[in-house]
């Protein structure tokens, strides 16, 4: 259904961040721009177990038209894509890095993303990665923290609404096709 062109609602539910941190790391316009402009998304910590959250997210992103690149120490193929051990060894241009690793490993991932010249990094919901987020933002990257990329895509494309969830989007304007893409 899509959420219409003029959405500017502050999304306040389901985050542990303060209002100031939300402004810096969960800006609605930034999230919508990343979803719209990204094509190739590296997923650090993608599991080969199809019942893990990372696999749910990667499957969703593929179906939504993104190319996903698994970054994991396990060599092989996940969801039809070749895996790479780290961001430095990925030969493709990466638009966005999505991180599924514990908070203590996130600074290292942020450093890799900075070194690889990647422009945006997204730390998934409930990952305690404030230090890594600060580091990446200071290095000029676009940063999203404590949000799930699947939920956010679903929020702005209209499909999360079908699951009866509170998208916090209010708009009287006609929806535009699939707004996220």
């Amino acid at each position: 259904m899509g959420s219409g062109p003029g959405v500017a609602c502050d999304i306040t539910l389901n985050t542990e961040l303060t209002a100031d941190q939300r402004r810096r790391f969960q800006n609605v316009d930034t999230i919508r721009r990343l979803l719209r402009e990204s094509h190739t998304i590296a997923i650090v910590g993608l599991s080969s177990d199809p019942q893990k959250a990372s696999s749910f997210v990667a499957t969703y992103l593929q179906a939504a038209g993104y190319r996903i690149v698994p970054v994991t120490p396990r060599s092989g193929v996940i969801l039809g894509e070749r895996t790479y051990p780290d961001l430095a060894s990925v030969p493709l241009p990466i638009d966005l890095v999505v991180v599924f690793r514990p908070g203590r490993e996130c600074v290292r991932v942020a450093e890799q993303a900075i070194a690889a010249g990647i422009k945006a990094i997204w730390f998934q919901l409930r990952i305690q990665a404030l230090e890594a987020a600060e580091l990446a933002q200071q290095a000029g990257l676009t940063v999203v923290l404590d949000k799930c990329i699947k939920m956010e895509h679903g929020r702005f494309s209209g499909s999360l609404h079908w699951a009866g969830m509170n998208t916090e989007i209010i708009s009287a304007r006609k929806a535009v096709g699939s707004a996220a893409r």
């Binding site: 259904m1 899509g2 959420s3 219409g4 539910l13 389901n14 199809p50 019942q51 893990k52 959250a53 749910f56 499957t59 969703y60 179906a63 919901l125 409930r126 799930c148 939920m151 679903g154 209209g158 499909s159 999360l160 609404h161 079908w162 699951a163 009866g164 969830m165 509170n166 998208t167 916090e168 989007i169 209010i170 708009s171 009287a172 304007r173 006609k174 929806a175 535009v176 096709g177």
Partner: protein, 419 residues
């Protein structure tokens, strides 16, 4: 009430919520169908599980209750059953207020017993009773914001803290208050239940129910939500869906398997009611207050139990949680000239001209019932007394009529009863 949950679609642009009167939805592709069944995509498969009209009602209720989401079902009783079936396993226990709707008491006492779930009843006004009743098997605390039928008020804040200390959810039925008068999640409740049949729909034309969840409860050590699900290849709902885990499980397992889905047409009618909730509730509580004041001054009335009155034991709670306006459903007792309260109650109902005698509340029209002979008749005398239901008790649900007309009707029926 008017916008949340509905954005006009990109092609037709219909301003009113369309009624998707369909059982099922054509898949995009075999892969997409498989992913929908695996819950890897959000989408519609079958109206027993989800429907786009119903989804508008769900998101709107979630938004009004400050919840993370909602699942709408066929009735308030279905909502309660699905909410608890998702939380509980055989051998688990819940602690519940003794002042609940009679149908709820019956479901918890008899149907839950068949599922080996035990309920401990407590006086809702005594926090120490709640605390004493909690055991290592307790999985939830349960009460009504405004208790049925006597209108007692649940002290939400300390109860939510108690539940939190035991890492169990507080489940609150908010039917009588509606989110316009009280939002239990703002006071710490985890799960809010509604019979949307009542004030949400507001016109007495559709049965419905809903489960709203806060999205803030940590289910990581709560077995039914955190453990691998055998019906989804070992999927861990809380780990995979985070704050949506509980509601995803309600929808994709409990409601899928028990089948009490809401009809899309009813979802539309309930939405139509919801659009005017604030206007109606203002009028409901204003009329209720006028009726309460009238009854208090009437020589044929023995007592009035309305928490909006200063001498009511929960008046302070009504002020704290409901702005001193505890809804439009309350009870009073008729002064029986020969001491037979039961007979006086029956006679009074026979004499009323404008109040409808029926088993519902929250209609646009004013309603009346005598619980001892109707809603609570399955209960034993002991259960009746525990629920605070006296034989002469009359329950009113004050509607939206012109106030003077309601007062006229009550006056003539009271006088006729006293003759």
């Amino acid at each position: 009430m008017l916008h949340a949950g509905h954005i006009p679609d990109s092609v037709v642009g219909a301003r009113a919520v369309p009624i998707y009167q369909t059982t099922s939805y054509v898949f995009d592709s075999p892969e997409s169908a498989a992913q929908l069944f695996e819950l890897k995509q959000y989408g519609n498969i079958y109206t027993r599980i989800a429907n786009p009209t119903t989804a508008v009602l769900e998101e709107r209720l979630a938004s009004l209750e400050n919840g993370t989401g909602a699942v709408a079902v066929a009735s308030g009783m279905a909502a309660q059953f699905a909410a608890f079936m998702t939380l509980l396993s055989p051998g688990d226990e819940i602690v519940a207020s003794s002042e609940l709707y009679g149908g709820t008491v019956t479901q918890l006492t008899h149907t839950f017993k068949k599922l080996s779930i035990a309920v401990h009843w407590v006086d809702p006004s005594k926090l120490e009773e709640w605390e004493r009743a909690i055991t290592p098997k307790t999985r939830a605390l349960f009460g009504e914001t405004i208790g049925n039928p006597r209108g007692s008020i649940l002290d939400l804040e300390p109860l939510a803290k108690l539940a939190d200390a035991h890492r169990i959810p507080l489940v609150v039925d908010n039917t009588f208050a509606t989110p316009y008068l009280c939002r239990p999640i703002d006071w710490g409740a985890t799960i809010v239940l509604h019979s949307t049949t009542k004030f949400i729909g507001g016109h007495g034309n559709s049965i419905g129910g809903a489960i709203v969840e806060s999205g803030t409860f940590d289910y990581s050590s709560f077995p039914t939500i955190a453990d691998p699900s055998p019906s989804y290849h070992g999927l861990r709902f809380y780990e995979t869906f985070g704050h949506y885990g509980y509601l995803m499980k309600v929808r994709a397992e409990t409601v899928r398997d028990t089948g009490a889905c809401l009809s899309p047409m009813n979802a539309f009618l309930l939405l139509q009611g919801l659009e005017t909730l604030s206007l109606r509730m203002e009028r409901h509580v204003a009329n209720a207050r006028a009726v309460v004041d009238f009854l208090l001054a009437h020589r044929c009335v023995a007592w009035v139990a309305y928490a909006g009155l200063p001498d009511h034991p929960q008046h302070a709670l009504a002020c704290k949680y409901l702005g001193g306006r505890p809804g439009a459903v309350f009870a009073f007792g008729i002064k029986a000239k020969d001491g037979d309260g039961r007979a006086a109650g029956r006679r009074f109902i026979e004499e009323l001209q404008l109040f409808s005698h029926l088993a519902n509340v929250g209609d646009a029209r004013s309603l009346v019932i005598h619980p001892a002979s109707t809603t609570h008749q399955q209960l034993t005398d002991e259960e009746l007394a525990r629920g605070g239901v006296a034989p002469e008790l009359i329950r009113l649900s004050v509607g939206l009529e012109t106030t003077e007309d309601l007062l006229w009707d009550l006056d003539q029926a009271l006088l006729a009863t006293s003759r």
